[in-house]
Point group: D2
Chain length 436, copies 4
Amino acid sequence: MIPRYSRPEMVAIWSPETKFRIWYEIEAHACDAQAALGVIPKENAEAVWKARDVEFDVARIDAIEAETRHDVIAFLTHLAEIVGSDQARFVHQGMTSSDVLDTCFNVQLVRAADILLADLDGLLAALKRRAHEHKDTVRIGRSHGIHAEPTTMGLTFARFYAEMDRNRARLRAAREEVATGALSGAVGTFANIDPAVEAHVCEKLGLAPEPISTQVIPRDRHAMFFATLGVVASSVENIAIEVRHMQRTEVLEAEEFFAKGQKGSSAMPHKRNPVLTENLTGLARLVRGMAIPAMENVALWHERDISHSSVERNIGPDATVTLDFALARLTTVVDKLVIYPENMLANMNKFRGLVMSQRVLLALTQAGVSREDAYKLVQRNAMKVWEEGKDFKEELLADPDVTSALSPAEIEEKFDLGYHTKHVDTIFARVFGAAS
Amino acid sequence: MIPRYSRPEMVAIWSPETKFRIWYEIEAHACDAQAALGVIPKENAEAVWKARDVEFDVARIDAIEAETRHDVIAFLTHLAEIVGSDQARFVHQGMTSSDVLDTCFNVQLVRAADILLADLDGLLAALKRRAHEHKDTVRIGRSHGIHAEPTTMGLTFARFYAEMDRNRARLRAAREEVATGALSGAVGTFANIDPAVEAHVCEKLGLAPEPISTQVIPRDRHAMFFATLGVVASSVENIAIEVRHMQRTEVLEAEEFFAKGQKGSSAMPHKRNPVLTENLTGLARLVRGMAIPAMENVALWHERDISHSSVERNIGPDATVTLDFALARLTTVVDKLVIYPENMLANMNKFRGLVMSQRVLLALTQAGVSREDAYKLVQRNAMKVWEEGKDFKEELLADPDVTSALSPAEIEEKFDLGYHTKHVDTIFARVFGAAS
Amino acid sequence: MIPRYSRPEMVAIWSPETKFRIWYEIEAHACDAQAALGVIPKENAEAVWKARDVEFDVARIDAIEAETRHDVIAFLTHLAEIVGSDQARFVHQGMTSSDVLDTCFNVQLVRAADILLADLDGLLAALKRRAHEHKDTVRIGRSHGIHAEPTTMGLTFARFYAEMDRNRARLRAAREEVATGALSGAVGTFANIDPAVEAHVCEKLGLAPEPISTQVIPRDRHAMFFATLGVVASSVENIAIEVRHMQRTEVLEAEEFFAKGQKGSSAMPHKRNPVLTENLTGLARLVRGMAIPAMENVALWHERDISHSSVERNIGPDATVTLDFALARLTTVVDKLVIYPENMLANMNKFRGLVMSQRVLLALTQAGVSREDAYKLVQRNAMKVWEEGKDFKEELLADPDVTSALSPAEIEEKFDLGYHTKHVDTIFARVFGAAS
Amino acid sequence: MIPRYSRPEMVAIWSPETKFRIWYEIEAHACDAQAALGVIPKENAEAVWKARDVEFDVARIDAIEAETRHDVIAFLTHLAEIVGSDQARFVHQGMTSSDVLDTCFNVQLVRAADILLADLDGLLAALKRRAHEHKDTVRIGRSHGIHAEPTTMGLTFARFYAEMDRNRARLRAAREEVATGALSGAVGTFANIDPAVEAHVCEKLGLAPEPISTQVIPRDRHAMFFATLGVVASSVENIAIEVRHMQRTEVLEAEEFFAKGQKGSSAMPHKRNPVLTENLTGLARLVRGMAIPAMENVALWHERDISHSSVERNIGPDATVTLDFALARLTTVVDKLVIYPENMLANMNKFRGLVMSQRVLLALTQAGVSREDAYKLVQRNAMKVWEEGKDFKEELLADPDVTSALSPAEIEEKFDLGYHTKHVDTIFARVFGAAS
């Protein structure tokens, strides 16, 4: 996570200020619950709320931590300075540091997931709009980078929509994975704290109580969370690669929006480089790479070791901030992508009709030619186009073995683009719903 | 995937015989649908079913492929040899190879997922049984590998149950991810094949039609599938590490079942090594490592490139066979794990009462001592236990600063184990349900 | 590792037969050394060599292992069956299983590295040949997939040569990493075996003695080995991606060799797909993904745990067999790559001279125009080419602000291709040596 | 990279100030070389050095970049503000941005490598000192976490020394990998810049000229660099895991240094948790995870795409800063590790002599008992120790089948610890050199 690839709302989730605020809320709500149970005096619980509108002094907390080498104790010490050490003496009672740290981390991840979900909503809206805009913009479909058969730009956007919509469902599931809290004490037995406290705090924070925790919330949840971000990032790369291909000089079917005043290169002013999607390709590698450390975090020793912590202090912000930035950037790219339909047509016609060979092959078969023979007939004429620059349709019309099976009109019909787009509406209905 | 770490049922899913059988079913059902649409003659469709009970000759298909360098054409050629080339001439009409390959791959993954789900059921049953068996078997909870507070062996099994139950839900979701089929033709436009064919074939194979495919089924689905296997594998490692720790000489709270006649070491016959769980630790690394290549497979070029194929030919079998083996092995380990409750008690008592320091700290706070002072009081006496081998309870009883806050009976009460197990039933109900 | 992507010589290294043969050599040489030290009788050492030309019965060894669950004991039992149990009773004396297993594994890795080095030699020869063949074949250089300035196809091959030459050096270093053996007994103290035995066995097997082993050879060596394979595989991907780009329909500057009789697609016979390099792209992902499990193997518990074993039983063969196959396939691709110089020229001229803008910019600056002004001048004319399809040189000649700084002859000179190739010989000398 | 796990010297390498300073040196030295070639006026080259002692205004450069969206142009604009735009007009002539960026990145990586090498020197010194200090401190060796045979703490330190010494050699090689610079112009042809400029700049910066670059320095170099860091990090984890095991309550053979005033836990004051080595375990996961994105960066499109950049802007600082911090922390841990030799002895004696079973087995074999029979004899007595808590030596002395092969004195001798340490000096000489 570096400022260049960050957006403030997501960064704010990971600030010390936000963290201490969440810690405070956990502690304060826990005091309320403890008071309700009669474990601590009501007035002490109420006193903690005196800090409700106080900004915590991060520098002061850091200074205490430098001495005690324990962040939660440092925070509690500072809180006592605000609330009064006598009033604050029941704060954190029965809890262990991880109750605060893990519940806070999950609150942060849930908030991060909510931003990412909103990002996806924005991206989906852009993809849907562009899909409908270019529903009938014909371009050549390519397999192996080689021209295959016609498709439409709308279908390309539609498949990215469908993919991102799946990512939305995955991310919602991932959000649920980490939407738990735990206040179960030293090794998760609730020996020193009643489960009711956990229930109260979790409810206030919008979390479900973790059914069984040790000292920590189990890390398979977080592994799944970060693995999901890795999949979403890989889909970002998928769209980015498509744009990069479309923008390459020889293809030029689309370009990233080129802002006025932007300089593409210090040396070649005419170059319009797809730097945004290249950047996204790199960001995807970063986010994906964080899935493995998150999975390695699952196997903690016994009721916990703290090896996960240094990993999460990094990938918590890094993965969410980077993916948030990537999704937002991708949304802009999609939204403003300059499409060149005329270039799409020019590209498609590069090999004069050769892309229709599949149709011809099929027609020959249906006309009674054996599959093997039809294959040879098509191949024979296709090679003339390929090697001698002939026109495919004309070659077919001039080939007696072909015309003995298909009439000229039948051959002509095989080169009708409408044939390839006839199910676009059907597919759109499958992707966007009937009333799309 | 090597025989040593494989089980036949899962291996069979990935055999050439199974693959060709699925290909056949796809082709035959597609012919039925084409005939129903009137695209091909009914008798040709029916003729394909002649091969229903014929075993395909894998060697023959391989020989044809060696010549044509195309596996689907090789299969279709062989099928025509069985059905008769005239009768078979409408087979595969309008389809592209990927329609067969991708739909088949997903059928295989779905079947693999079903085995893995059954594996998890077996593991969950074992974990549940052992959890209830040792619900009240007290052992020391450890954070950082250091004694913390008492817990029970049943809670350890219960948390593994909860984790594997989450994995079950994840795996079910992953199964749904890949339970789609596509017969959409060259670049996914259905230009040469009616969507009704896809619908029929998918229904027959227990799949949903892929809402929008290109030439291939989108690989974000598979990335999610393999990432999920990586998370499950990481949970396998989590249990394995716990067993390995429990079996280490100085802990010896459990041992893997030691078969009669098994030799632990060629040199040291007394050694009973946790080799099964060490093996599982390694297998987890393998499965986890396959998540990244699967994610890299997402960004295919345009409507498809075939770079995913070599990856999937390996990780398809490797990840599922390895995880199946690992889950089955883990189930045996859990099922037969030899537990030593007496050693658990002995370990817990190693530091004469020190593990109760948290309770004492809490009691002092509740008795009106400030948190800071209570901390110092507990620390002072704890250090005598640690450094001089004293008994913690006796030191507390002899410390006037402590006894001025707590009565001897109150101090005694802090060393009652029942205090730590009082919520075990509550937690069990949360994990296993009220009637567990 | 699957047959489809395997070559027999590398596969043979990982066969049970090879493994047992290496085990045998380790044991037999160890007996010689023990006899020379007077630890065991010379006749017993000699007797072991009776098995020198005997093929070990793998099925028999497997059967014994099924009973004893210990592979080394199974082998030793079988060896005793051949040599005679009385004669064989000193075999393995003072050794531990890992002495045999780890030394054998390293012998296998060294042999695998030797094959990979030979593979690289073949690839380097092909790259060198093609580099010289196309030293002066001009093509457009591209950054961001966008035309930049002219370069030559020879330089492309030359940079791949330089990269693979670095990989050769890396692989040689990696080979040295694993070219050690250890016969140091139970926990590596030589308590039961003299270091002279290790020295003798290692010398006979072409290994250096591991300076300090525990029960195992330290796994940082293997982590480095497999990480290096991951880097080599990434370079394979680098060349593969270049070929795939060159073959895409709109570029068509090269094609993979297309064998007679090969069918590119079941549906589109004209398509020549770069399936070999797409396949290599996938294989690279696989090999790369194995680096992480190898690194996770480093941190074994104390003097060893066996978690590394299941990883290595897989990635040992998988990574080396896959990379061997990939390098051999890549060598064929490079060797037979069909180059289309005329298409390279046609592509370069697509934007009538625009790629020379950098030269013009420089010339303007040198003629005294400020950098900012020169940039604007070039940009102004470039945009006319880009947007209106004008010829860049003609626009410049018609721009008085340009011609006031540069004479027509000077402008003409800026469009001379020789300008861009003038240092090719220099670069070739740097890559291939002065006498290349 | 977060402040918590950072050290200022390494962080400074990655500051904007350092980066701009390196950019400046590249540009200024390039001007000198251009002037020497007569390409630009000498006075303009000299004028650039006016900025030698000027602190660049990072905020100003950022402001220009915000407008131009190009970092190198922004820097050059700011430089012209200092030097004077007329004087500065030849700066960067013939160069492309990547010439500056890539050469700078390599300078940074080389400097980072130098710090890491110094870190390793410090760690090696600590390991060597502790190795000699505890050369003869006997402890039990463990395989599979199970007691095996005696070894010494010095050997443990010595093997970590040998491993880190290998890492030093690897890191030196990795440093050489990235110690290259390139000033080869737009696509690496030197069309617009003489190779002599590159030679001069590289010499001044302590780099070798990249033999063949495109627009960028080839990324296989960086992949190897970061993969090497991943291996070093895995070795950090290896030592960390050993310390964590030694500190666990039941073992307690060592403890991380516990600073006065440090609080181990907010709840359990007696706990001394190995938090530093747990932290190192997590940091190792992070650094290791960055190897894969670095490898994915190798396959850039044609002469370059910029997808590597966002990866490197993150992992450049992240991997080096994190590993620097980890090595420094590990050095402190090793240096101050509190060793408990008496606990080592107590642990070794836990199973009264059983760890000597290998010696007895060997002695029986040497006395003429068949290997199988000797195995059974040892096993029989070992089981009595294991199951009934008997003393192994006494059981052997009382077993007539044993005493018929070995005399009481021979049996006694098998329990002499000196037997296991007799080759420690030999091993130390192998690791540290003869005069160690």
